[in-house]
Symmetry: C2
């Protein structure tokens, strides 16, 4: 895991691929087979997915759900929300329009550049990942996989771990169905969310308070193609919605 | 991440610390500051936490919940269960006696040495981790942290990621509350489950079908003391029980 340092505060329209390339060059460059993990917030900022709270008029529902929190922020959360899964004001666990289930529909106020701005999730994290992958391939010739990551809480467990929202250039789930384990017993329904594990591993060197919006994960055997959408539990199989 | 290979199939009473040390020596040995991640199944086997299904008489409830699955296996699951959180026969999500919420109360049939045996979670994974840490310190003088890991499914997301059941020698949650991010905005309630991210990272080199029951994670800044129990969401804060 190689943290990419020295990337400046980003804003709408900035060339994220160029910034990543510059930072990667300082640590020896990208190699084919690398997985580049990029924090969602960096992607969202260059894509202009930010909202100034001063421009937001909160609805009645937002005021209710916000409790003693900021109703304008809750209004933004509700606009990003397909279904409210759980609410305990001012905490909302929501299914986003993409299908992610997470706190505050992924709307984040820290690291936003100024206090009164919130950052939304990218509109299509898989497209964001694919775009970065393409730009890096064009610039360097290196076939890297890209993961757009974010910190999600979990049911039943404390703390967040980073997971893969957007994926390009690797199969996010390693499916061992039908393979045999070391004593010849057939493994049933063992599917490993390797993209989430890679995102979590990268978080260990990216941190939250440092300006390290990306990391290279090298030496992981990756293969195939896929999308972050594959990591979403289909509603009909979901016991918790 | 350094996989520890060449550890033989383990059984009750085997010296797991000695096996790990032998495997670690072949890759240069353990160093102070390393995190040793050990698969729960290896720990459970040496602790004799296995049950022969031939010895199990299933209850009526087990027969109901098993559906067309093995009712004896379900009986073992129910004995490990404090509360059934969700059931869709033959699938059960249970809170174990330790407080973990996971599929089948952590009871696993693959890799058990023979098909008709199931493996339970360790009785006290934190104690297992502490015991290993102590034994490794005594044998080598190296201050390593130990994580006993297992593969857990997640609500709303497909696939498993490895998480920390037992922890010794590190603080499992990095608490950034009150710290300021890179633009001076105070971070609220940012707690990162680093022990789970380390367990997931180790899984990437441990795999499921290979006989790699342990891995060294080197170069992660760890500190403090703590337990895997700290990773459990307290019931009163839990929106999903």
């Amino acid at each position: 895991m190689i943290p990419l340092r020295g990337i400046p505060e980003l804003g709408e329209g900035d060339d994220l691929a160029a910034e990543i390339l510059g930072a990667a060059r300082r640590v020896g460059g990208l190699e084919s087979g690398d997985v580049l993990v990029v924090a969602q917030k960096a992607v969202s900022k260059v894509e202009g997915r930010t909202v100034r709270l001063a421009d937001v008029e909160p609805s009645e529902r937002a005021q209710e759900l916000a409790g003693d929190g900021d109703a304008r922020r809750m209004e933004v959360i509700l606009r990003e929300t397909r279904t409210v899964v759980r609410a305990r004001p001012p905490l909302v666990i929501a299914e986003t329009s993409h299908g992610f289930v997470c706190a505050s529909a992924g709307v984040d106020s820290s690291n936003a550049g100024r206090v009164e701005t919130v950052v939304l999730l990218p509109r299509d994290p898989d497209a964001s990942a694919a775009g970065l992958r393409e730009a890096l391939l064009e610039a360097t010739g290196a076939e890297v996989a890209v993961i757009v990551s974010d910190s999600f809480g979990r049911a039943w467990r404390q703390g967040t771990t980073d997971v893969a929202l957007g994926v390009a250039g690797l199969t996010p789930i390693l499916d061992l169905n039908g393979r045999r384990d070391s004593v010849g017993y057939e493994l049933h329904s063992t599917q490993i969310a390797v993209a989430d594990e890679i995102a979590g591993a990268a978080e260990l060197v990216m941190g939250k308070t440092d300006a390290v919006p990306a990391a290279i994960v090298r030496g992981v055997r990756i293969s195939g193609e896929g999308s972050g959408a594959e990591l979403l539990m289909p509603r009909e199989r979901d016991l918790f919605r």
